[in-house]
């Protein structure tokens, strides 16, 4: 492992520090170099520190004078003329455990001495003119990146076919299709359309009645579809589906994950907040602002205030290693999670990359990272958990949550620890015991020396005792008293994961991301590249979250609207206009339709950031209405359908598959569960719960009838079905689900008791209908399961299949199960 770490006494950190170039090397110096130094460097060092090997580990090159002169990540390696002050000497001498070079073996003493002599000579080196490829940030190039340009409002282009477009957005799409000299596919049938739009907007299939109504609607396609869309947008199921999309990017979970996978018994409030926000069509700018700084925003009522506090739960939901012993590391990891989440979810930027070094692709420097990270360092994150050592500690700490109170509109306070909380009690008892013993000793007639020692010991113990008391004493101020958790946590207290303002402070840059290797303190600020968006300045007595929210939701911000519009587009078409939905940086994809993206983004902002309006426009567009018909001629021009000349077939998510099955079996409970998935004090560590044992089974109970969005998301313990169908890994932002196609999916559909049960129930429901003959029943079955009628061939096959076994329920169950197992059921047409 060759890893250069910064020395505590590290010399200047500047990458470009250069040395005074000494006089030209003398002949004898050159002879010395060629005889002793060059062979040694080639043999022992070039493998990792040369341009040729393609490696410059630790940022250090040793294959040219320019290479070593510009130093490495740990600073200058060689101080010409000063071997003792040269890092290189320390490393070849193995004087520092973290910096031993070469890493696998130590150089022979004569070799080490040669290097010493050479450096003391002034490090004469004839290898001049070498390339130094130190990567810095190219700010000019960075600035010109498309995603950093202001959002424009382009005029829709003219199209030859003027009858086809329904919405302005269609003109952008059609113009490109016409440019490619092809024509869009025909519209989808009404059968396909109602299934598509119902699954897209609610995550549930349409009922037979809904299909029938739409098919028979005498109005124009436009009008008939609009009716359906408005009905769907106003159903609660809409928020349950689109809220879940947001929960993917919010890396939502009901447990902390990692080593001590302790439950988040209050996370569900944030989940419900998200669902409700989508159902209320909360303007997206407001939605963002509340999640970043809800506690700092004005509120209209106690209820409103509570919602805004719950919204900040976003920042507290990160996956943390509760077993992390190093508090700095823990805090910096938490901040990194917040930076990464906000960066990718809201801006499509991978800030996390700049934690340890300047961003390799995007114009975000390490200083930018720590400048923005300072905002979160000045924020207190209350997740109800605390990192601790050892296995027996209590990680769940209700005192590290925010207590909500609907009767209050003032700022709530963090509840404070009760006097002598449990973890201290044992310590206090031990201390008291020892004091008592010593006091007894004192009473004895002891020599003076011993008496003195006892007095000292007692004083020391009493001091410890009073310090514990001070630390955990109940707050004295009246204001705080309202919120303090009582000796036994008040069972009526409504608790939430949230953030509050912390001690305002700037962060020191961490060299190579190492918590204990501090660089300069960086004042809190927004990334330099966004200077032209006139970001607000930050005050010295507030964290800056409010300003962060203002900046992000400013119409001048080039990313916020674009990223959200692109997410919506990706959910409705299977692929974003920018394919990498969480990465709008230089390493992300370019937009296929940049003008369309800007058109929708500017419109989105003009429409009060209304997500429902945006979705409505898109699903009523002609583009959304295209059939999936394959046109050979078009495919030769654009096989990948980048131009949107037809609809993409899209696999349903795990939740939609499960919810559709529940609905098919008539089992779906459409009401939201009254509370969270766990009891309010549930503090189990899921990494220790064995499957099958009480509590351990909860996450896998896919058979319960609630919608999937309400099932607990336990990190690393997702229900098997969710894992198999590519549920979003809840550890980090995930705007686009994977679509894998693996045998366990087939095994699930074929053999899982839940699927078998649902299929039987569906068969029973089909058979209960009073239908005249087998052919009609088959017809009904297809309408019931796939929202369409069977083809003749399908009817024939089904008839043959049904005949091959006598037991009607059994054979019908097998038929419905076959249909549910088919690809068509799990794909949006």
């Amino acid at each position: 492992m060759m890893r250069l770490l910064v020395f505590p006494f590290a010399v200047t950190l500047s990458l470009f520090a250069s040395h005074a170039v000494g006089a030209e090397p003398t002949e004898s110096q050159l002879v010395f170099f060629e005889a002793n130094i060059r062979p040694l460097l080639v043999k022992h060092c070039y493998q990792c520190h040369s341009i040729e090997s393609g490696e410059g580990k630790g940022g250090l090159l040793l294959d040219s004078k320019e290479g070593w002169s510009s130093g490495g990540d740990s600073g200058d390696a060689i101080q010409p003329g000063d071997a003792r002050g040269s890092l290189l000497m320390d490393s070849v001498r193995y004087e520092n455990a973290d910096l031993q070079m070469p890493p696998k073996y130590q150089l022979a003493e004569p070799e080490i001495e040669a290097i010493e002599t050479w450096i003391n000579m002034g490090a004469p080196d004839p290898r001049v003119g070498g390339k130094v490829t130190k990567k810095g940030i190219d700010w000019e190039k960075g600035k010109s990146h498309w995603a950093f340009q202001p959002i424009s409002n382009p005029t829709p282009p003219p199209t030859k076919d003027t009858a086809w477009p329904r919405d302005d957005l269609d003109r952008f799409v059609l113009a490109k299709i016409e440019d490619a000299k092809i024509a869009p596919a025909p519209d989808a049938t009404r059968f396909a359309l109602i299934r598509r739009v119902t699954l897209d907007l609610t995550g549930l299939p349409p009922s037979v009645a809904e299909v029938g109504e739409f098919i028979c609607d005498q109005e124009s396609d436009d009008a008939a579809l609009a009716k359906v869309v408005d009905r769907l947008l106003s159903s609660n199921a809409f928020g349950e589906r689109w809220g879940r999309h947001w929960l993917d990017v919010a890396r939502y979970a009901d447990s902390v994950g990692k080593t001590r996978n302790v439950a988040f018994p209050h996370a569900w409030r944030y989940r419900n907040y998200v669902i409700d926000s989508f159902n209320q069509d909360k303007p997206y700018d407001k939605f963002i602002a509340e999640q970043l700084a809800g506690d700092l925003l004005a509120s209209t009522s106690g209820k409103d205030r509570n919602e805004k506090i719950i919204a900040t739960g976003l920042l507290a939901l990160g996956s943390m290693d509760l077993n992390e012993r190093d508090q700095d590391q823990f805090n910096l990891d938490r901040i990194d999670d917040q930076m990464d989440t906000i960066g990718r979810a809201m801006m499509g930027l991978t800030f996390g990359c700049a934690r340890c070094h300047d961003h390799k692709f995007d114009p975000i420097s390490q200083s930018d990272y720590y400048a923005m990270a300072g905002i979160f360092a000045s924020t207190k994150t209350l997740s109800g958990q605390q990192n601790r050592q050892g296995g027996s500690k209590q990680y769940y700490q209700p005192n590290l949550l925010v207590r909500l109170d609907e009767s209050l509109t003032s700022k709530p306070e963090v509840s404070t620890p009760k006097p002598f909380d449990k973890s201290k009690r044992a310590e206090v008892a031990v201390l008291k015991n020892r004091i008592a013993k010593l006091q007894n000793e004192q009473k004895k007639n002891l020599p003076r020396q011993q008496q003195e020692r006892l007095t000292l010991q007692l004083a020391n113990l009493n001091k410890q005792l009073s310090e514990i008391a001070k630390q955990s004493a109940a707050p004295k101020s009246k204001k705080n008293k309202n919120f303090a958790i009582e000796e036994k946590t008040d069972p009526r207290a409504v608790l939430a994961m949230a953030v509050t303002e912390g001690k305002v402070s700037n962060l020191a840059l961490r060299v190579r991301g190492e918590p204990d290797v501090k660089g300069d303190v960086v004042p809190r600020a927004f990334p330099v590249i966004f200077k032209n968006t006139s970001p607000p300045s930050l005050s010295s007595d507030e964290s800056g979250r409010l300003e962060l929210a203002q900046w992000l939701t400013s119409p001048k911000h080039p990313l916020t609207a674009r990223v959200m519009v692109n997410r919506v587009w990706a959910h409705l078409f299977g692929r974003g206009l920018v394919e990498t939905v969480d990465n709008f940086g230089a390493s992300g994809a370019l937009p296929t339709h940049p003008e369309l993206l800007d058109h929708l983004s500017s419109r989105f902002m003009k429409d009060r950031w209304s997500v429902k309006s945006l979705i409505r426009s898109i699903v009523l567009s002609r583009t959304y209405r295209l059939s999936g018909e394959h046109i050979a001629e078009n495919a030769t021009v654009d096989e990948d359908n980048q131009l949107h000349w037809r609809a993409n077939l899209r696999r349903l998510e795990a939740e939609a598959i499960r919810d559709s099955l529940l609905a098919a079996g008539g089992l779906l409970e459409t009401n939201r569960p009254g509370a969270g998935p766990f009891s309010r004090d549930f503090s189990a560590d899921f990494s220790k719960l064995k499957p099958g044992k009480k509590g351990g089974a909860a996450p896998d109970s896919i058979a319960q009838p609630t919608r999937s969005v309400y099932l607990p998301v336990v990190r690393s313990k997702l229900p098997g079905m969710f894992t198999v169908f590519d549920f979003a890994e809840p550890d980090q932002v995930n705007g686009q689900r994977d679509v894998t196609t693996v045998p366990p999916q087939a095994l699930f559909m074929l053999n899982n008791p839940f699927v078998i049960d649902v299929s039987r129930r569906a068969a029973e429901r089909i058979l209960k209908q009073e239908l005249k003959d087998e052919a009609t029943r088959i017809r009904y079955a297809y309408a019931y399961t796939l929202s369409r009628y069977p083809t003749e061939a399908e009817t024939e096959r089904a008839t043959v299949f049904l005949k091959s076994e006598a037991d009607q329920i059994k054979t019908w169950s097998a038929l419905t199960q076959a249909i549910y197992s088919s690809a068509e059921f799990r794909y949006i047409p």
Binding site: T350, G692, D731, P743, P744, L747, N752, I756, F801, A823
Partner: protein, 457 residues
């Protein structure tokens, strides 16, 4: 068309229906040839001996000082006080001499403790790695690091990287199988994180009956086959209207593999077909060796069936106390089964192409835990693992800890180095086995990793 289809249906029942059908349909045939199963076998970067890995994971931190790292100086200085390596939990305290006898084994004379009488017979196949070290001395972190290379982030596991790199040799079974995985670290230990899900480990829980949903207790095999044929008819219809759609082709293939797995998985895991001699040799008849013997025999069968990465696990190696009794019991539980596994692999000519890896997440301190004379603390600064087969030198003791066994000082192999070496043995340049995700190329070894080239045969 319907008649031809019917003919095709019969082929389906024989298991190669789709290919037969595809040949009849030009568009679909094109689709089929374009679709490459993510699990199709792939060639590595360069030719290598090892084709698969069997990882015997010993969770808890087995004591290297009582098993595979002979420290005469520790023997001599048992009872003396010492300071542990800085930064470990080893701390200071009295040294605890090795609690078991070591003697040279095989022609190579590798020193192995008396706890492994059977395994010692294979000493000349073993490559002891005595210079192991890892970054963290806590079980969860070290376990996750060993499996994924990362402590801070959820990353693809070693097995999923190997399967991603090499695909699977079996068309009947998943490419990566983990039997009875330990709880610590959970699914991360065999997860695929951002790699496609096809590469994730398939979990076999022996207590829960194997692989999820592998059996249908509802339909007869014939009936299920005709049900699957019906499903596949629908799938093909859909593919026909979406020619070239890889996902749909994948669905069709997944049903065929799933159908085959229903018989292949229980068959490969069913040990009844093994001779009683074999069953005895693996120690399956004895209570103390039964559990691990079963896993070892299954591992061999999975290897024979073409599974790329097989992991079996045994926990309970955390001997803070009760070292002598517990270690004896643990080693006794695995010694005979591992010896049987090595022998079988060798007899079948498979040892050369199978890399067997043994070890835990870290080792233990030379210092006595609480001076009890019967326990050791965690130690991540120096410990041992061993490899056998798969192109590593046998009979080699590579790397070393310091005199008393606390810190690795020679032939040091850190977690990333271990991963780099394993990938190298399989034919990969670990710096080039990458996967692009979230805008950057990820690799198992992050930006680290040195191949321990001295151990390559």
């Amino acid at each position: 068309m319907p008649l031809t289809r019917r003919g095709m249906l019969q082929h389906s029942a024989a298991g190669f229906g789709w290919m037969a059908f595809a040949a009849l349909n030009a568009d679909a045939a094109r689709a089929s040839s374009e679709f490459e199963s993510p699990l199709a076998p792939k060639a590595p970067h360069f030719k290598a001996k090892a084709k698969r890995v069997i990882f015997l994971f010993m969770q808890g931190g087995p004591s290297h000082l009582d098993t595979f790292d002979w420290k005469p100086a520790l023997k001599a200085s048992g009872g003396k006080s010492s300071s542990g390596p800085s930064g470990t939990k080893g701390g200071n305290g009295r040294l605890l001499a090795p609690q078991f006898k070591f003697s040279p084994q095989g022609q190579s004379g590798l020193p192995i403790s008396e706890l492994f009488p059977e395994l010692s017979q294979h000493a000349d196949d073993l490559c002891l790695l005595n210079g192991m070290h890892t970054s963290n001395a806590a079980h969860p972190q070290a376990t996750i690091a060993l499996h994924t290379g990362s402590i801070n982030f959820v990353r693809p596991s070693l097995g999923s990287w190997v399967t991603y790199g090499l695909g699977s040799e079996s068309q009947e079974l998943p490419g990566f199988v983990t039997i009875n995985p330990v709880n610590l670290g959970g699914a991360q230990n065999y997860g695929s994180s951002f790699l496609p899900a096809s590469y994730q480990g398939t979990r076999v829980d022996l207590a829960a009956g194997g692989i999820a949903d592998i059996r249908n207790r509802h339909l007869s095999d014939d009936r299920q086959r005709s049900q699957i044929d019906l499903i596949q008819e629908m799938n093909r219809d859909l593919l026909e209207s979406h020619p070239g759609n890889q996902e749909l082709d994948g669905v069709i293939q997944s049903f065929e593999l799933a159908y085959r797995m229903q018989s292949s998985v229980p068959t490969v895991l069913d040990l009844k077909t093994e001779s009683s001699e074999t069953v005895r040799r693996y120690g399956i008849e004895n209570e103390e060796t039964k559990a691990f013997g079963t896993q070892c025999l299954m591992a061999r069968r999975l290897a024979e069936a073409g599974v790329r990465f097989i992991q079996i696990s045994k926990n309970g190696w955390d001997q803070h106390n009760n070292l002598k009794t517990a270690l004896k019991k643990n080693c006794g539980g695995i010694d005979q089964p591992i010896a049987a596994l090595l022998k079988d692999l060798k007899d079948r000519g498979m040892l050369d192409e199978t890399l067997v890896l043994w070890g835990g997440e870290f080792g233990r301190s030379p210092q006595d835990q609480a001076n009890s004379g019967d326990g050791r603390r965690h130690n991540n600064k120096g410990y041992s693992m061993w490899m056998a087969g798969g192109g590593v030198k046998g009979g080699l003791r590579y790397g070393a800890t310091d005199e008393t066994g606390g810190t690795s000082v020679e032939g040091k192999i850190g977690t990333h180095d271990l991963h780099a070496t394993i990938l190298h043995l399989l034919g990969f340049d670990h710096t080039k086995l990458t996967y692009r995700y979230a805008g950057r190329d990820f690799r198992l070894t992050d930006v680290y990793g040195e191949v321990a080239s001295e151990i390559l045969a």
